[in-house]
Symmetry: D3
Subunit: 321 residues, 6 copies
């Protein structure tokens, strides 16, 4: 699908099989990695267009399609058939077109029975991801567990409909993911404004602020999040990880850093737990911005492991570990 | 309390007067500095959205509105009334809207009898600049002297109409600036393809490749460029400086670096000469990308001086120096 | 035209009102932000002269003077009238003169009934801050809660009276802030030497080493600090935050990094608590050194939020939250 | 003339006495610092050849041979005679020769009754260190407490015997340090593969994964590690610290970053505890890679303090603190 | 050939066909790109192991196997069949083994009638390249035009036979390339010592120092170099480009920077001229060290264009341009 | 054990003899290297306090006190006895004291018959250097050939007497170096203001602007400079090299970058020529700021070679080359 696109990396995640998007329907893999090299939805620092490339390449292990997980002894790439379809091809500066292209790709993946894991890109991509999934699974059928420093429920993005500050609101408005299906973890700082917070409450969104996490500890909060995400007739969850949920002191390579977040370790453990305890219908890891990551590129390494931990949780669930 | 102190932020270029755009019509300054913080037209590395900020701040001199030019003894900020209207407000990811907003702003500036100098932004902004100017001065009335490693005459920008690879073609197609009014200096490398080169020739664009500059020397080439730009009934020139015309070894902070360009010194001397020898109706300096510029930010410093040298050439012309 | 757009320069902290220092007496704001761009008191790495600029600009939110605090729902910039007077103007290399200029400015602010929050600069500025405040509030009338990896109680600074290693000693010697009014949090490492430690004890300074914080936990230590700072007839506290109290792994942009500190989150929570529980007469945030902060500038972002959390704590106290 | 001035180069660690290696036998110091500037055993990013230089220089204190420890009041450089013999001289690209040279140097140091502390270098150097020590103390006579994200027990290093992925296996195979003498702390991620894990178990190596540390807390795990390292007739421990045991978010300057590690503070406290509670026969601190450390060089600063904390623990043990 | 090797990039140069090395004999392409990710021959800064990856990726154009050359209108990738076999697989730290592996690969390429272009790696790789070629073309049958700041004719490399300071001497000693077949361009600085210079003279090596280039101009010097390289019964030339021949001010990403070199433009023009005027039997571009190149990675971009200019010169020669 | 190994720290320039300043009078070396780690005279970016360290360490050659010059075959460290006395010890923030300390040190060196070469530091140090030399050689007895983008003749430095903008004026005013003894090369940009330029003319200072260098070529300008510097009864010249005379595109690591300068090569050739053609009484190389130099540290490498080229010119003069 990449078609020589300029931001693209030229490998696959962890060296898994390279499969063109149009073969997914026939091959029916368990999981499909796909890149969404879009950063023109970001209101401040860009750079996330190089996120998919950086996340794939932030890996000192062999490109051999094997990742045996040390604590569990499970190799998620062996338990699950994971393929990588490359990045969607999108012209810069036409955000709505790009999100449409993304939604179509996600729809095709989900329609093939596979779980898409999207490498962003800024957070505007979650609108495309949620939209595409809802077309297959049905509006309101799944929840989103959303890790972030920011609620991403803005009424507009600097005056525009789409952008990295509005995807959750747009998904609620479109009906793809109703407000009560949202569980947000890690919010903090000085945004959004009270009317938006009130609107979120009206939508019955569940939010766990960092202040609550500090007060109660992360584990009980995640237990509550799991309970909330399991309510009712949900068919599964979409895990949306904005890497800025982690403290920027540990994950500097991101566009809108908000100090005071969780640790890298906490994020890794939590996404694995979620994927083990709940049925995952999709995931994205967004807002990794390589030009702001420094020579060590530690944020990209973290994002790479977020994907692996989600996969491992899914594999543990599958094998009943 | 700051009193132009050197460590402080610069809000206006060189500390010139801060004037709201809607006052320009009344105040009728000679020159208006305006920022176009757009980088979602770039096909490879972004970052130029921070160009306007970086160019204004890459300045160790006081924010005092004084810049006496050592070689000529002229202070262009004294000879010309220069104001800064800040940056246009644009939502990321909606390129055509942003270019429309820019064109409107440029039109207002030109309509007030002022010369706009635009701090980019990626090169897509030149479409907005040329369009706005043509609305006031008339289609075909002015030429563009275009410094660049790339022709920017692509048929599409990764499939889209607008972007940093197509502005010159779009201006020719719209009639704002016909092909024979273009003089391009510094082109090199492996782009565009022969059909595009043929199209450029058909449009009667004049191009001076780096290979010709190396062969003949820059001065005679610029003399030819001046002659070409002066042909016929032209009312003036727009100087469009893509900072990547300079060798990336000397100007690393740019999005699509093409080795083998001119030196910083050559660029500075040439833009001043053009502004002294030809009537300038506008200018832009684009593709300065701070996140790729390194800690010294030398490319932003260069761009700051490009603006000053243009202003000084204009001042020299005015005082008959 | 800029309208608080996010890529633009910030001239005032968070876009609050820009007020000249000589208007402060008339306007009588609640809080005055002031920059002290001094780094010639640093014995190792400099760069903190750009601290005020970096702290103001490390902000992806609008320059709109609004900062609604997500956990409390309070907007401190609405509850308190906060202005920014810019930076003091000081010639580099004349430290004592600069500290004198700073002390005069702080005195004027305090005399107007306002709380100064000083953006450093290296830690030598705290001598100026404490001196200026004591002129208004009276010697010995307030305490200093001092977050730092270092005690800053050196007998000399590489042989000189003033510098970033001596401000606390100088304040004690001058009588402005007696030793028993000091509460120090986060000290660690291999400095100062035992005679200095003995002197500190003789002065009745209270110090909470990192080793004690690790042993007992930060919250009980802060409770003790609050109690200590409230003793006797104190009229309030000055919060002095050396950003190197945070582990350099999370806050690399500082001059004298000492591994093993608290987390960013802990610092933010603690300064807010202090400002909520105790009357604040002033504050400074110092030793942010942008050239050592890497492309993400995460230390500057942290410092920006330290200021906001102090303001929020003050606002909570005011509204009785 | 320099007189330990802070901006100057450091030639010896903390300014301790510079002693040629061939004088060690006569002088019989307590501790010998030695650099092993080898990075051609690293399979991914290099740069650790500059580790010894960076670790010595990451120090804002005087080069005066004094380091009074704030929490204990002990100056380890006063309690122990510590000297620095500089770096071994090794031709790049001949790894086995270099390890041989290193083993010889370590043997000489240990034979003189001194404890070597080796500044790496990549982790391949631990084979040289363990080999040299075993020649003096006897095969199987001491244990290794090994902090690392990785087990370093690969069968080969990209097909070769030696490299940074195999030193522990080579030491077990040679008999220098039997498997049951190994205690590994902090392992995580997706390496090595199950056969290697099985081999490690067969060798009776003790491993404490990060997942166990998260579950139980670090202190009880270290207590178990101390117990394990004290078993039987061990004559002492070698502490091998791969700086990547710390989360790369806090210690980015390393070659094979694996997110999810311990904090800097935890590492510092733990090595001091070990050195206080157990007899140390040697130590190394490896995998510090300055070109990936960013402008703040915080990983090198951390490594410098790791050495000091080990020294302090040894001094505490000596004085019975 | 790459076999999941860790330094490898996962694309091909300019998107040309990916061909396994063992297919080269059958397919008989004109040119074979091959990476030699070796930096353990460097005596100072490493990092060149990532040179092949960086050179392939330093390219904003499409991975489409098309590179139409603007000045000549020739697309070298169309005139010549160019393939990329990836990187050789080599264990770090075993330099002689790696050079042997490289020589074997080069031999296979040359035996298939193809011209190898090697992406280094440090300059030690030229020994492998020259050795492999001589096995096919015959000892003494071709010359080397060597661009470099350094003569690379050391007697030893820090005491060892091989390394980046000795390849030219080893090739002369082995007889593969006799001294009179060497033409060196751009030497400068303070190395090697007079006995080595005398030895070079004894071998009849031709050297053009930078001082001569400054005095006479580069063009006449290159004319002399062409004449020298054409002498006698030579069957062709190998072009060995150490990127440090360019001034480090323009090409900072290299291991042993020696100020005072040629410009990027001069290098590009000269290698194209050589490839047009002389029959090329092979080439290498070495000593590109990405970790020292800064965020713009301009040295890698330059090296990418060096390869393309060589290819274009070869294509011009082929089509008789 | 280090034996001048290349990764090691350099304590003396090029590994020359380390001699305490108080032994200089007895030992009477030809040249004394001395560091002046002062950057609190800089009005914009600091960092030059680490200039002496960076200049000594920017050297991939052995610390062996040998530097055979390739073009001439002369080893200046063999022809001249060069020693390094380290850095002066100065408290930060007390500029006048520091300049006094420096002047005293320079006086002692000159009184011993040696030529001081000072590694700065910002340009304020030249006042100390000139003052110290004049005490020995006599006021007005020597000239200064001053390479710089800036005239450094400000009336004040942000209101203070001393700083990096005023040293030349202060030397003229004190009588140490009268105006007609100054030859300035490379000035450009927008500073100083016309009154200062007029004052410079009144003092009979000779200035060669960059614009003149571009117009006439550097060689004839230097010939004029040599003639000017040789006029009358001068006893010799002091060469003061502000590294910002070089274009910041090639030398980014400096505090006040002014685009449009000479090349690195031109600077190296010119200082050698001056030292060969004129009697040198001293030299300094200033304004090298490592934190702004990027990972390649190319500006420090350039400065290292400036020192060597001056030494080589002096050696050539001595041996009559």
């Amino acid at each position: 699908m990449t078609e020589n696109y300029r931001f693209a990396s030229f490998t696959t995640f962890a060296g898994v099989e390279d499969l063109p998007l149009d073969k997914v329907a026939d091959e029916r893999p368990d999981v499909v990695i796909i890149g969404a090299p879009i950063d023109w939805g970001a209101t401040y620092r860009g750079g996330a267009r190089f996120g998919p490339k950086a996340i794939r390449e932030a890996d000192y292990l062999g490109a051999d399609g094997e990742r045996p997980h040390l604590p569990t002894g499970i190799d998620p790439l062996s338990e699950l058939r994971v393929v990588d379809v490359g990045d969607i091809a999108v012209p810069p500066g036409y955000l709505e077109d790009a999100l449409g292209t993304l939604a179509d790709a996600i729809e095709r993946i989900a329609a093939a029975g596979a779980v898409p894991i999207v490498l962003g890109g800024d957070h505007s991509v979650t609108f495309g991801n949620g939209t595409g999934l809802a077309r297959v699974h049905g509006d309101g059928s799944f929840g989103i567990v959303h890790f972030d420093a920011h609620a991403d429920t803005g009424e507009t993005n600097v005056g525009a409909l789409h952008g990295h500050g509005t995807p959750m609101r747009r998904l609620i408005e479109s009906g793809a993911v109703p407000g009560h299906r949202f569980v947000q973890i890690g919010l903090r700082g000085y945004w959004p404004d009270p009317p938006t917070v009130a609107w979120m409450k009206d939508q019955a969104m569940r939010t766990f602020l960092m202040s609550e996490i500090v007060e109660r500890g992360l584990r009980p909060v995640v237990a509550d999040a799991v309970a909330a995400a399991s309510e009712g007739d949900t068919r599964g969850i979409f895990i949306s990880v904005d890497v800025d949920v982690v403290d920027p002191g540990m994950a500097p390579g991101t566009g809108t850093p908000e100090p005071g977040g969780i640790t890298s370790r906490e994020l890794l453990d939590t996404v694995r737990r979620l994927a083990r305890e709940l049925p995952v219908v999709g995931a994205d890891i967004v807002e990794v911005s390589p030009p702001y990551d420094g020579p060590g590129q530690v944020t990209a390494f973290l994002a790479n492991r977020v994907v692996l931990e989600i996969l491992n949780g899914m594999a543990e669930r599958k094998v009943g570990a």
